[in-house]
């Protein structure tokens, strides 16, 4: 039986050459994401800003949104939104946080329940008061930051500090871009979004660590290979694995996205973006080449200038790392 090979054997793609495009591009995208966050904002769900969310199924099919809007509008509860949710007779009602503390939120729900009466089935009612919402947001942020720091320490312990730093830069890059994605698409930002971000952090690192592991192995085995060459060999060697794994994870996520229901759609969409698009790109085009700038293997780069360096070292490797513009060349993997 012929087996599927997505990546041909002995692929030698010069990934490191792209760092002159990938770094500026990532920097620009990151800045754009940060600007989006500040000027466009996130579509915070009630978990973080408080308020009421009611999902109802109307007896009438499809739901008469206009009359419902009029009914709820008559209650004078301030800002509210109605939106079809999954099915034509499923309606999501959001009422913004009421002034007057936690009790006022409860009163608002009761008003909506009384007004809609028995024309609807209540599928879900969520009320988050002001005291809880601020806490949830700060816990979420603390959770995200402490996860990144905990992982950083683990990597520092297992690798050298440059690797830990590189992984963290890649990681923050992933989180920033994903937040930008959430801002752009106006996906609900709620507790599950924090879960999604944390999973992206863990998963993107997983990928980075696999490549770093290989880089470390190569550093030990090939003492004289230039750093860009070595990184290229490492990325190429793990490329097939990266792609196969990402395809399987993407398949799982796709199944969740298509069949997992409306309740976790924003969660899976975020994961799809973060894990499949950003995570993969980052580990190859950011996390790996950044090691050059962080000074991993500078000894071997400079080593070519030392007189006793054997001529076996590639001639272009004699340039200092920052200005190195290695010409595309075949990587010689010696065993």
């Amino acid at each position: 039986m012929r087996l599927l090979r997505i990546v041909p054997d002995n692929t030698r793609f010069d990934f490191m050459r792209f760092r002159r495009f990938s770094f500026p591009m990532s920097a620009m995208l990151s800045i754009a994401a940060i600007l989006l966050y500040f000027y466009h904002g996130l579509n915070f769900g009630i978990d973080f800003v408080g308020g009421t969310l009611i999902e109802v199924q109307t007896r009438a099919n499809p739901a008469d949104l206009a009359s419902m809007r009029a009914t709820i509008g008559g209650l004078h509860l301030g800002e509210f939104q109605l939106q079809e949710f999954g099915a034509p007779n499923d309606v999501l009602i959001r009422v913004s946080e009421q002034p007057g503390g936690d009790q006022a939120q409860q009163a608002a729900v009761q008003k909506v329940r009384d007004a809609l009466g028995s024309t609807v089935d209540y599928r879900r009612v969520e009320v988050v008061g002001p005291s809880v919402s601020t806490e949830l947001l700060s816990y979420g942020t603390i959770g995200l930051l402490s996860a990144i720091i905990a992982i950083l320490f683990y990597l520092w312990f297992r690798f050298e500090w440059q690797f830990a730093l590189g992984a963290m830069i890649a990681n923050v890059h992933d989180v920033v871009l994903t937040v930008g994605f959430m801002s752009l698409t106006r996906v609900d930002f709620d507790l599950t979004s924090i879960a999604a971000l944390l999973t992206i952090v863990g998963y993107s690192l997983n990928d980075t660590v696999v490549i770093y592991d290989r880089i470390r192995e190569m550093l030990r085995r090939y003492k004289r290979m230039s750093m860009p060459d070595l990184l290229n060999v490492s990325v190429n060697a793990t490329l097939s694995r990266s792609i196969v794994t990402h395809v399987t994870v993407a398949m799982s996520l796709l199944a969740l996205l298509l069949f997992g229901g409306q309740a976790i759609r924003s969660f899976t969409a975020t994961m799809m973006f973060g894990v499949v698009l950003v995570g993969t790109y980052t580990s190859v085009f950011i996390a790996s080449p950044i090691l050059i700038y962080l000074g991993v293997g500078t000894g071997r780069m400079g080593g070519a200038e030392e007189p006793e360096t054997p001529p076996a070292a590639p001639p272009t490797a004699s340039q200092p790392p920052k200005t190195a513009a290695p010409a595309p060349r075949r990587v010689r993997a010696r065993r």
Binding site: M1, L3, L4, I6, D9, N10, E55, D102, Q103, Q106, R113, Y122, R124, V125, E126, V128, G129, S131, V132, L136, Y139, I142, G143, L144, A147, A150, L191, T192, I194, A195, L198, T199, G202, Y203, L205, N206, D207, V209, V210, D213, E217, T238, V244, T245, V247, T248, V249, A250, M251, S252, L254, L256, L258, F259, G260, G261, A263, I264, F267, M271
Partner: protein, 530 residues
Amino acid sequence: MLFFTRWKAAAILITALVVCLFAVPNFFSEKTIARWPDWAQRHIVLGLDLQGGSSLLLEVDTNAVRKERLQSLDDDVLRVLRQARIPFTGRAIHGNGVDVHITRPTDVKTALDKLGTLSQLMSGIVGASGQRSVDISENGGTITLAPSDAAVTERIRQAVDQSIEIIQRRVNELGLVEPSIQREGIDRILVQVPGLQDPTRLKEILGKTAKLDFRMVDLSMTPQQAAETHPPPDSEILSGQNGEKYLIERRVLVSGGDLVDAQPGFDQRTSEPVVNFRFNSTGARKFAEATEQNVGKPFAIVLDNQVVSAPVIREPILGGQGQISGNFTVQQANDLAILLRAGALPAPLTIVEERTVGPGLGQDSIRAGEHAAYVGAALVVFFMFATYGLFGLFANIAVAVNVAMIFGVLSMLGATLTLPGIAGIVLTVGIAVDSNVLIYERIREEVRAGRTAINAIDAGFTRALATILDSNITTFIAAAVLFYAGSGPVRGFAVTLGVGILTSLFTAFTFTRLIVAYWVRVWRPRAVPI
């Protein structure tokens, strides 16, 4: 790497089997499981988002606790100084303390001594550090007493404990099935009731403090006069159910704490719904005394600072039994009886978060989750087989074992499965195959490097396992943080993700290796079929 002793192989298979077997109770109904031995009964609990139900997060009003503590300290100061016959002026509550000015400077030292008895050494852990319950300071004849932070914290802790007990009683009285009531943080209580669709009544029952007092009506002036001028210092104006005003003495004749029973019933003459109550012996004696002295005068039944009714005492009530009537509906009488039986909350509770899921949405979510899991698994199984052939099949077996083991471990933990939890499992399927992918890709590489088949397989496993460990630990750290920082459904996701990583490590390190080792021993392959 490919050699297993018989014992080791047996241990691996038995571990996997036993863990998988723990998942079995999930396939049977609650009724069937109930007849099984205790250790076999543990199973996965569906979260409220899947089975439907209501979850309320209540916050104990800590300000009320502080205020009450301060009020009683104020009363104590008055009592102590009066007993010691020390003249004083300007006794008042200021901010977090009680200020009192001792009139004669010569009395200040005695006053400090006497008031010092109010400050006790805290018991328990806080006491060991020498903390006292009241901080006392003196400045130019003015003595300030303030409850210490430790005392207030301790009091809040007690208030939350008491509240949990009382909520437990109230919820049980409502006849709700399997409610779960637990403390959250310092001053919060989480009440979860599976299957409850409309928590309106529950919220009403929990929202009432149910502080019941029997007090005399002050007849020295009408409520209108009192409102226009000043009410007498020992009385206050309270309103009734329909907004009517009463002037009620502050002094409490008997309080709800002396009740031993309360039952809903009907008045024999008017047949309107009432609540019949019975006092304990102390309460009965106090009530008898009070009614004997006040025949012909009205007294008031005050519930949460609202006058329920103000009947006139026609004759002394000596039996310690009574009746509360107040234009109740049957349900109101019922609820009041429940509240009185369960007792008063030490402080008001506020609902700070509510999440209710109807059974329809829960069903839909389960169906959607199952659907996604099947489709996701099918896609992954097919893709792995297409990519790695026979070895892909091995990987698929390992993933199936893996999923069964996840359910086994979750059952052992009695974990709660939420919709994000299902997402975690589906995602784990994707991650679990990664271990196999890492191993197989490494084997492919070793083959390309010119090793013999068996050598390549052996080297592939050895080298890939270090990487698998590193990469999984990072994801596990993220899952652990998620578990500690997250709440509710997010926790469910963290649990399944974390457990999934552990089981996939187990299968990668032992199970897959065992299958491949067995295959190598039986077939003695010349070439690796991947």
